[in-house]
Symmetry: C2
Subunit: 243 residues, 2 copies
């Protein structure tokens, strides 16, 4: 099974200043590719925190995607943290230098040159918006933190990923409280071990629950969805069509 983790380096997320939007984008795209996102970590812009997390994650999962910390300022430390994590030198990436010089022309300076410093052996991840490239080291992909640029980078690297059978999700929403059906739902989960059933209570704009079935086999997902619909009707619940 192909698996993944996301590592967000983000003081601005940990201070509550910024609402992260990268996890949801990457998560949805990985679902479509059949890559199982198993874990997300948000850590401080701190060498120890980043190195510790990336070394744990890259040995546990097929892929690690990092976001943030690849710009030209003093708090952009992802490239150096990765070179320390991988035990390689931080060197000028010639291709990145050429891209940045071509883009900034006479505005190219020592600050911008910093964005071409990458771990030795890194390959570039391109983006069409800011031009400043991300990079890949083995199974770790380091991308920008700004959502539009991160998405551009993700799409430019996605063809290189090993894919698996895409996950299929079905969802039934009803007006029943979880406490009304949880024993029966547990029975349906036990009878359908090839799918994963999640139950998510709702309070607004109505009280009820959404039951989500996830799997890689469409027939198995459809069967579990049918059993859930029958359970809801048997309990005199109503199925609610969400827009």
């Amino acid at each position: 099974m192909v698996t993944a983790a996301i590592l967000i380096t983000g003081n601005e997320v940990l201070s509550g200043r910024t609402q992260d939007k990268n996890v949801q984008y990457i998560a949805k795209r990985l679902m479509e590719m059949g890559i199982g996102l198993k874990e997300v970590r948000i850590v401080r812009d701190d060498y120890g925190a980043i190195i510790g997390a990336v070394n744990e994650l890259r040995s546990s999962y097929t892929y690690v995607f990092t976001t943030g910390g690849i710009g030209p300022t003093h708090d952009d430390i992802t490239a150096e943290a990765m070179s320390r994590a991988f035990g390689v030198k931080l060197v000028e990436n010639q291709e990145a230098s050429l891209i940045l010089k071509d883009y900034y022309q006479e505005k190219f300076n020592e600050n911008r040159a910093r964005m071409a410093m990458m771990p030795e052996g890194a390959t570039l991840i391109y983006n069409s918006i800011s031009k400043a490239p991300g990079f890949r080291m083995e199974n770790v992909f380091c991308m920008a933190g700004i959502p539009s640029i991160m998405q551009d980078m993700f799409e430019s690297l996605s063809h290189t990923l090993e894919k698996d059978a895409p996950f299929i999700e079905g969802c039934v929403t009803c007006n029943l409280l979880e406490g009304k059906f949880s024993n029966k739902l547990q029975g349906i989960q036990a009878q359908n071990p090839k799918v994963e059933i999640g139950s998510y209570p709702r309070y607004e704009p109505f009280v009820g629950a959404s039951l989500v079935v996830k799997g890689t086999d469409k027939t198995c997902v459809d069967t579990a969805i049918e059993e859930i619909r029958k359970m809801i009707k048997d309990l005199q619940g109503e199925i609610i069509d969400l827009p």
Copy 2:
């Protein structure tokens, strides 16, 4: 220094179905209380994943806040995971039982009774919305995943937290690209070691950067902000007042 981590148990976040909103709320509140949020982890609704993460986090930080997994369905496994993590029995919490029986009256059933099963020694975290309580085990606070209920629980427990000097943040936004000022900003950071300066590029609706200064001493924050404003003017940049 008082520190914290957040642990989100959430298949629905890892599949991209749900956009997490709990991190930002807790992060902002901790800032106000002077509690340093150091790390966030989002893991699967899986015993091994939850137990491993909570045991690492609770030994590393003053407090751990978990969200999700305390309802009545088969995928709500936080209470049992915590009892295994702490090496104690999962038992009926008498006070939780009374609250749930009183709330559900004749609709109290074995499904709802499951929500009163907690690690031995847990104390309750109340909420006024769904009544189903969260719980505290030592330095770990287990709360609901639904934002409105989580917030209610957080406010009901916040008075029990050890607080520190509140963090103060200042922010200056300008129309300069980071590559124009990053060396000078690094100098300001070096001259002002009592504050932490973050730089966040902007692409919409204008190109520029926001410079954020964080610290516990207002004079130190103000001094760094003044130096940043001067740096921007010296570089012929414009300071932009955000609404």
